[in-house]
């Protein structure tokens, strides 16, 4: 062992402070999902629940899309918490892929139906802008909460972890959007949703990976 390693061990030992072992990724995911559920409960007070329920149950692709976004939110958050641990496989990044495929596929079906069935209300540009603002705006506090929790860990793959956190937040915001989304997803609407999700994921990857790189828990 060379002198500098010896000195480093001395310095690290001298600066040691007690730390509490982190809860499991499953438990941390659950805590974040409780936060999302609390926001959902608050938003539900301002939404027309009956109209939403009718819309969901009218056609299978609507609830399949919601199921897909909820599954994406859950699996992406779990993947982010797994990736935040230095000894976990980077293959966790693939966990949200099936759920994301279901989400995008079911939304795409709804988009096709909007063109096939006459009389379906197609979202206007103003309405799609509101969707974009809602998804991006709600993703900010959701991502922030996720990053606060992730910073307690120590990721050796910050960009991947941050991107997963972004996907989880965007999926959560898109799920909550259903409270205020009184129309089917047309092609423009679906494109705006996709753009909003991409914006959130890219922003989370850029901003969040820096935040995670600078996290020095217990030092």
């Amino acid at each position: 062992m060379d002198d500098s390693t010896d000195r480093l061990i001395g310095a690290l030992s001298a600066s040691l402070r007690p730390v509490r072992p982190l809860p499991s990724p499953a438990l941390r995911t659950l805590i974040w999902l409780i936060l999302v559920a609390a926001i959902a409960a608050a938003l539900a007070m301002f939404a027309n629940d009956t109209a939403m329920w009718h819309r969901m149950t009218a056609v299978p692709d609507m609830w399949l899309a919601v199921l897909g976004s909820i599954a994406t939110m859950t699996t992406a958050a779990f993947a982010a918490f797994e990736l935040s641990l230095p000894d976990r496989s980077r293959a966790w990044v693939f966990l949200p892929l099936p759920a994301t495929a279901l989400w995008v596929g079911a939304s795409g079906l709804g988009c096709l139906r909007a063109y096939v069935l006459p009389g379906t209300h197609v979202a206007t540009i103003e309405e799609t802008q509101d969707c974009l603002l809602f998804i991006v705006g709600l993703s900010v506090p959701l991502s922030a909460a996720l990053f606060v929790m992730l910073r307690r860990a120590y990721s050796l793959a910050p960009p991947l972890t941050a991107a997963m956190a972004g996907l989880a937040s965007a999926a959560a915001a898109a799920t909550l959007l259903n409270f205020f989304h009184p129309f089917d997803a047309a092609a423009t609407d679906l494109a705006v949703h996709a753009v909003a999700v991409v914006i959130v994921v890219v922003a989370a990857r850029v901003v969040g990976s820096r935040a995670l790189q600078n996290s020095l828990p217990g030092t």
Binding site: T5, L12, S13, P18, P86, D87
Partner: protein, 175 residues
């Protein structure tokens, strides 16, 4: 490690020291050059320190440490590969590279000026040459020069003044 998480410094120091041979063996197996092994060892120790809250006492410490060390070794190997593709080791090319900003005639002009000053100095009277030699070239103080030459400070000052005037006239005339 569980004791270290609880803040036991002695246990932590012992653990880190015991880890070093294990880390070195993994790093060497990963193919890290021998002169960079210590870098990876230190990086791995720092990671263990920063990530200690992420260790689950229910799981194997060795497996946890092994993955961290392997990742740190791969990081360094990637860094070396990037460095290798960006930079070329060619000392001969560096030596032979012509400095385009260099003024090739400056050296010759400088040598000529030095030669003219030397000639002008040898043509000065002895007392003036003596003053220039001690006060300017050897950078002695008036007091030291006076002690060496046995002359007064005033005399040395006058000689230096006259010598500089003579040299200036000579150089101006020469140009």
């Amino acid at each position: 490690m569980a004791a270290a998480q609880a803040g036991d410094r002695v246990a932590y120091e012992t653990l880190l020291r015991d880890c070093v041979p294990f880390i070195v063996s993994i790093v060497r197996r990963q193919g890290v050059p021998s002169d960079r092994v210590d870098d990876v060892v230190q990086e791995a120790l720092l990671t263990v320190h920063r990530a200690r809250a992420t260790y689950d006492p229910q799981r194997s410490f060795e497996a946890w440490l092994r993955v961290i060390v392997e990742r740190r070794a791969i990081d360094l190997l990637r860094q070396l590969r990037r460095h290798g593709t960006r930079e070329v080791h060619a000392p001969l090319a560096v030596e032979c590279h012509a400095d385009e900003a260099a003024d090739t005639s400056a050296g010759i002009e400088y040598a000529e000026r030095v030669k003219r000053i030397d000639t002008a100095l040898t043509e000065l009277p002895r007392r003036q040459r003596e003053a220039v030699h001690h006060l300017l070239l050897d950078e002695r103080s008036l007091k030291e020069a006076a002690a060496i030459t046995g002359r007064s400070r005033g005399s040395l000052k006058v000689s230096l003044h006259r010598a500089l005037n003579a040299l200036r006239a000579r150089m101006d005339h020469g140009d």
